[in-house]
Subunit: 429 residues, 4 copies
């Protein structure tokens, strides 16, 4: 990752505290019991997110860089390791919901203990590597903030009482219609991809390198719920010719008939959101979300289009202003193009909803860039070892912290994954 | 089940309140998070036990017999149904750990609502069927008290921190040695089996009927930890000729090497109990517990013995005084024969540890008695529909409420089950 | 098993040759490719049956009792072992269909080699144990003859071309109607069960012992296809209250809607048999076959009856004349009661179809009799190690060799098993 | 695919007959029983390959383009469909080993019937589309020739008798040592990839398009058995840090310890080949084969190298002469670099073993080229629908027909696949 060396330790200290506070603030609407739920294989309990993000600072910074640091509890180094094999073995992921102890309060104390340690190390040992790692830890914390929201959405969806994480807000009443679908042409050619400049990025965004692109066009907005409902009504989930072979297997085995959080009740679609169950208003411009790569790909085939590659997307997005996190602006669902467009100050002709609405599935497999070098040591397991079987998503969703959104960011999930805020942008030749 | 008609409604009301209080008392050492854990397929979260036992009274009594009863929450009739198909569908068992809402406090309010209802129905409508069902509900509650303890033991064992449900008590220091193995002869012949008399029993204990027994002998105490350790040391888990075919498959697939809660640390066995992890003291008379039918059967074959049938056991136990619940007497582990023997006032020659130590696997499959009639209606699903693929256990364990122990009681589990307090008594020709 | 000591070696030699020839005769309609198919987990390829039955004589007799015996191929001692762990490991059952070599012709040579060996050992070493084991081997061979037929029926059913093992015969045209359902009363009391007399039996039929039976009645014939079709038409497969809990799980997971070889085509049932696919003529007295224990149990509950125990069945059947094998008399399907009744010389009042129609599911779990002793050594694995999780069937089917049918015979399969010719007799009170 | 229009129908007719004959010649060493085996999920029985390749011509040519064509057997249109959903449903792949009928001879008659049909259509209706489809069918036939060999290798490996497909040949004695590892530098830049010129290719090799490559180097030969044995000896299969996360899961679950056909016997490696089991001579230059993508990737990481992308490989291979099929030259194993090098007339400095030794795993996921258009209609299912979850392999193996080898050819398998002749070429920055 690129260095944070030019930033003063003060700034990083403030970012650290802000991030740590925000994680706990996200837990405010949750009961201790809510924080235990692990409702799908992709998800973790909220309490585990709280503890694991502390573990990350403890394991990668305090143990190594804070002289005389005393572990809060030696067992935690094992208990809250997610997947770093170079440390030691770790508990099977599915066991996370069995760990009632330590309880939430104890985990909060663990966090405080770690917070004090990080404050001290920034005081006594603010060398470049420490600053670099604190910055990485802050970004790691932000990733888990997003996961915490997607996981709690799934947890509450699994509960037949369908509780709401937050009460219904003003955005729910946003009833603007979608604009007619348009597109923006790009000339392609030899472009550069990957992080440039001095800001933070992950190792998998580097090195910046050249890519050849043929001319292409991207839709100027995401596919809407209404458009996706047309796909369903046209038998989209019943026509194998629209699907990849593995996608059709997924449809058949999981009996998919709609995006993850859609339910049909008395002939009408309803949608489950962090604000609870609500009628799915097809009249608005809200983009479809919680679809898998397979569904995105099938939709594109049905529409006579294709998905963009990650490099087509990045070339179009580079230089665009990343919009604010919808969560922080009181929203909790992918927003109509116009509302986010406002934040992006997009003109009518421009490309909209690039950032902070839905992660956009791309047609690119998640692989290392030419010359990719994972971080040294255990941190090398952060990203590199997942480079098989996954597809790249770009742009960030309404649950992504604003600081975490940039044009070079590469998210990645298996093609069957639906629990993220993941949507569709179309491309064409 | 036999009728409670001769008992006054006052007595049942007192038993009802005692049982309801005891369930909640058992939860006192648990945090809200502990009450969410479901750590093996056989187990349920403690909070679910709290709610389901309320559901039972609501569904089988209040809905039907209390005029004007208002459900606490209509969703609960679905949410806390365990397996009664005649009511409606119910959630998959494995989802129970996903139900963070209603939280513990809400469940306690649900229980209070139901308690008031039961108090009223006993006042306004104390007819025979109501009394009979309240008595059944009390017994159902007692079954779940036992399950709650076995489930929390498993939950805490699954947690690598190995928390203790209760602090170590005096019983842990009981170091009496086991007596030499003896046996008691029985002449068999035409005996009667099944509940007699006027007390409560389940439908599967009826009708009382005649059974022919050849002469047999039973060990006068349970197999001890020390004896079972000899089986292990003699390669018991590595010799297929000692095992049923399905048992050997279970050993191989699950890599069983010892009873469920035994662990080997630095060459010494330790034992996980409701009082936490402790060294396994092989010098005491404590019986081996948490073995499957397969292990009990293999041990018996290794020892040149066999397991008793349920009728051999019942004929030997009938007329014996059931001992008190060890839990209530401050114990939380299967006790040495002598300590429980004292409660049973067994003489040196008598048969000991029949009641309240470990459930004893028998060589009998769980099937209906000749002339078996399940209860009418939905309650018929209570016992009868499980009459395939399970073996009968007799006697009751240290986690079984005293009122729930009797010689005709038939417990039943699949032959691979180990999470119960289940042990071994040998028989021979 | 009881001894064959009183029989001359000549007789056993003749029985040996007859059995060996019959096995190969059963393969006559099969191509080498047919003999490779293993179409369900319960089944084995026909070629494997040919080879394994030779292996049995080689392993239990020739290796031990024929001085100077040279193995045909040392690898076969491993390759064709079914499940005898005391010899050595053996191939996973599902691999049997991968063994193209040795080919059929080589297996036939192996059989000839073994036949010569058995002829020699009967000449040079005809001691009691040899005679006993040859008799056991002949019975083993007969069991595999039956399995070969049930396995090839499944193999041809799995093939969408639905080939026929034999051409349609006269029995297919038997259109006699079933008699009205009647029953025969039995007084019960203290009866004896298990093999008596000097004939061959397996270890699991011994010792003969006393059993107490309450008075009971058995249907005088098996449940017919027509009666079972009424159960289906009455929603039998859609009503959970009729089923054991594990049975309902089996119905749901396997989507059972009818017995195994029934198919619905254009609204009419057709039946797949060893004579190929044919319309299911509900007007005849033919018994329903290829149902699981779960289906038999659910049918009985629907009919307001129950299944008999194995002891009720045996007490009724003892002394009855076992009828001839329907296969040898040119039949290949469970026959109407009257046709087999003729062979049994049953009077109108008597109980019919006890032998040689369908195996009859009983309400008894397969367990050892009091005092059960498995055969010594490796042969002890023949029956005893399967005594868990299975139900007893009695009577023998149309595919059972006549010599293999007797009133004390205990067949056993898991309750979900349907590939055998297994049917239903009802009991009451 | 590109057109064959410029070729006369005579030439295609000859190629057709040659291909059809070769398929059956490959079956000459097989018994009817061998042709039934399906020993791993990737494989199909040899008889099925025989039939399916006939089905392909019948379904895509005769049914559509031969007036008055009469199907050999209407059931076959369903029975031998592999995965073309647009025709109709098809049997589950795993059932293929259950289809004993039609037998081999009948399948050969089916092939003759289809051969006559193709001869006629080439006579009466030799239009461009027919020629194009016959050419595609010939290429399809060649693909199945290769699969037939890889499948029979697995079938014979699964058989504990370890039969040999062919007798040991001269190549087995080739004991030349490997050359020291060298590499060849490439300057990269803007290159073209994909089929050019007028020859046959699949739709997934088109369109030819531009790709930007950074400078890179490729090893001048494949990784040898000896080199891979060093990886094993260095704990390669026990060090999670060398593996992708999914790769480590595969190692753990499948207990991989070496390439697929390596076995350790008395401390020495032996290798199973189409010529039977033989000692693995590590002293020769023979390349390692039958490794998964995960193993290739881990080996490269261990060696401090990486795998090439498919475009790096293609740019290096374009213009090189594809060598002859080793099978046809009497070889049946990946050959030492020199022997194949001779065929390639490579100089000492050149890159060797590009074609016809082992398929080479590349670091590229199998995805469509920019502007990819699947064939119209059902044929569009040939390649396109598999574009997820698979990695590209390049070059062709010793089992690949010579006519099937070219620099633009893209083979593809899941990253866990090992039953193909798949090996490793290293790349570096």
């Amino acid at each position: 990752m690129s260095t944070a060396a030019s930033r003063p330790q003060l700034a990083i200290s403030e970012r650290f505290h802000a991030a740590r506070c925000r994680t706990q603030a996200l837990c405010a609407p949750l009961t201790p019991e809510d924080m235990m739920v692990q409702s799908c294989p992709e998800a973790s309990p909220a309490k585990w997110h709280l503890a694991h993000t502390a573990w990350f600072f403890e394991s990668f910074i305090l143990s190594e860089f804070l002289p005389g640091y005393r572990a809060f509890n030696h067992e935690y180094s094992w208990l809250f390791n997610s997947y770093y094999r170079s440390f030691a073995e770790f508990p099977e992921k599915k066991l996370r919901s069995s760990f009632s102890r330590p309880g939430r309060d104890e985990v909060v104390r663990y966090r405080e203990h770690v917070d004090e340690g990080v404050a001290r190390v920034l005081e006594v040992n603010p060398d470049t590597e420490v600053l670099r790692r604190v910055e990485l830890g802050v970004n790691h914390e932000e990733q888990h903030q997003e996961l915490l929201l997607t996981d709690i959405l799934n947890a509450f969806f699994t509960n037949p009482l369908r509780p709401a994480y937050l009460s219904a807000g003003p955005c729910c009443a946003d009833e603007r219609r979608a604009s007619a679908p348009g597109h923006v042409e790009f000339s392609g050619g030899l472009v550069e991809a990957g992080m440039s400049g001095s800001g933070f990025c992950y190792d998998n965004e580097l090195p910046r390198h050249r890519v050849w692109l043929e001319p292409y066009a991207l839709s100027d907005r995401l596919v809407t719920n209404e458009e996706f409902a047309e796909f369903i009504a046209d038998g989209g989930y019943e026509r194998p010719e629209l699907w990849l072979s593995a996608g059709w297997d997924a449809v058949s085995q999981n009996r998919w008939k709609a995006p993850l959080y859609w339910s049909k009740r008395s002939g009408e679609w309803s949608l489950f959101t962090l604000r609870g169950e609500m009628p799915l208003n097809l009249m608005t411009a809200a983009p479809v979300s919680h679809v898998s790569y397979y569904e995105a790909d099938a939709y594109a085939r049905w529409a006579g289009r294709r998905l963009p590659t990650e490099f087509e997307w990045e070339a179009a997005a580079e230089g665009q202003q990343a919009c604010g996190n919808l969560m922080d602006s009181g929203m909790l669902m992918p927003a109509p193009a116009e509302s986010c467009g406002a934040q992006e100050s997009a003109t009518d002709e421009g490309i909209r909803q690039l950032f902070g609405d839905c992660w956009e599935w791309t047609a690119s497999a998640y692989l290392g860039y030419p010359g990719f070098e994972p971080l040294a040591g255990s941190l090398g397991e952060y990203n590199g070892k997942f480079m098989s079987g996954q597809m790249v998503l770009r742009g960030g969703s309404c649950a992504t912290p604003q600081a975490h959104i940039r044009s070079s960011y590469r998210n990645f999930f298996g093609p069957e994954t639906r629990w993220q805020f993941s949507g569709i942008r179309l491309a064409r030749k």
